[in-house]
């Protein structure tokens, strides 16, 4: 069988790459992609811990399903915000969206 630490290292690598996208990308849609990758890495961790813990306790998978729902809501609201900003300001560059910066 595959050791648990392999899954966790894989999820950590995905999370680090998503973190890089959030910190370094200019385009707001690319930042949102980074957030989605990070959420997915978290779900991989949850399912791996469920599998290697006590699989008859379904809590790990139930938690992961809730995280899926939150990720879907986050994507919908985030993309609606980006489209709304684009319509008003003609840009999706995170550094030009500075209305609340002073």
């Amino acid at each position: 069988m595959v050791p648990l630490s392999w899954y966790l290292t894989f999820a950590a690598a995905l999370f680090a790459l998503g973190l890089y996208a959030v910190l370094a990308r200019k385009n707001a849609v690319a930042i949102l992609m980074g957030v989605e990758i990070m959420l997915n890495a978290v779900i991989v961790n949850l399912v791996a811990f469920w599998r290697y813990g006590n699989p008859s306790d379904i809590a790990g998978q139930a938690f992961a399903v809730i995280v899926f729902a939150v990720a879907a809501a986050e994507a919908a609201v985030g993309l609606a915000l980006i489209i709304s900003i684009y319509r008003r300001r003609e840009t999706v560059m995170a550094e030009q969206i500075d209305l609340m910066k002073w």
């Binding site: 069988m1 595959v2 050791p3 648990l4 630490s5 392999w6 966790l8 290292t9 894989f10 950590a12 690598a13 995905l14 790459l17 998503g18 890089y20 910190l23 370094a24 990308r25 200019k26 385009n27 849609v29 690319a30 949102l32 992609m33 989605e36 990758i37 997915n40 991989v44 791996a48 469920w50 599998r51 290697y52 006590n54 699989p55 008859s56 379904i58 809590a59 998978q61 139930a62 399903v65 809730i66 899926f68 729902a69 939150v70 879907a72 809501a73 986050e74 994507a75 919908a76 609201v77 993309l79 609606a80 980006i82 489209i83 684009y86 319509r87 008003r88 560059m93 995170a94 550094e95």
Partner: protein, 172 residues
């Protein structure tokens, strides 16, 4: 250590491919290409779920993430594309700081991970986990309240995103 099993070979191949496509997602200049590489990444993660005996999660991953979220992202890229004609750098001037933070994070987490003795073998899966998951989400003694709260949250997110994206009066 004993010989590498088939599951381990599949895991290594899929994990390396997935990390490679994720690297392309976060670095490639053309955002449409990034969104398509994101689909490849999400599919690789679905394969990882199958390896973890979580068939329902793999199905939800493909239907929800690839079928809904990734397509939504492709639409968003297309709707906002005119100003970002893929010219110039796609990362801000602090990209090196982001690289350092991400690398330090990964190094710290993985050294921590490899210093812990994890349970060597997964527990045996008894019965139908999909059935157990479905029961637990509607069982008053288990997770029916988180489930209902999540559904209310989805409705609110749906209404909220429609309201946000509507071409309302331009009150600038």
């Amino acid at each position: 250590m004993e010989a590498v099993s088939a599951a381990q070979i599949i895991f290594i191949v899929v994990a390396l491919l997935t990390v490679a496509t994720t690297f392309l997602v976060v670095t490639v200049r053309n955002l449409i290409h990034a969104a398509l590489w994101l689909v490849a990444t999400l599919f690789g993660i679905a394969v990882i779920f199958v390896l973890l005996d979580a068939g329902f999660m793999a199905t939800v991953q493909i239907v929800l993430y690839i079928g809904a979220i990734a397509i939504l992202i492709v639409f968003a890229v297309m709707l906002t594309r005119r100003v970002m004609q893929d010219v110039g750098p796609q990362s801000n001037e602090n990209w090196w700081l982001g690289t350092i933070v991400a690398a330090v994070f990964f190094a710290a987490i993985s050294t921590l991970l490899w210093s812990i003795r994890w349970p060597a073998l997964p527990g045996a899966v008894v019965g139908d986990t999909v059935l157990a998951l479905g029961r637990s989400l509607v069982d008053p003694n288990q997770y029916v309240i988180p489930f209902e709260v999540a559904s209310v949250m989805l409705i609110i997110a749906l209404i909220g995103s429609i309201t946000l994206a509507l071409p309302g009066k331009q009150s600038e």
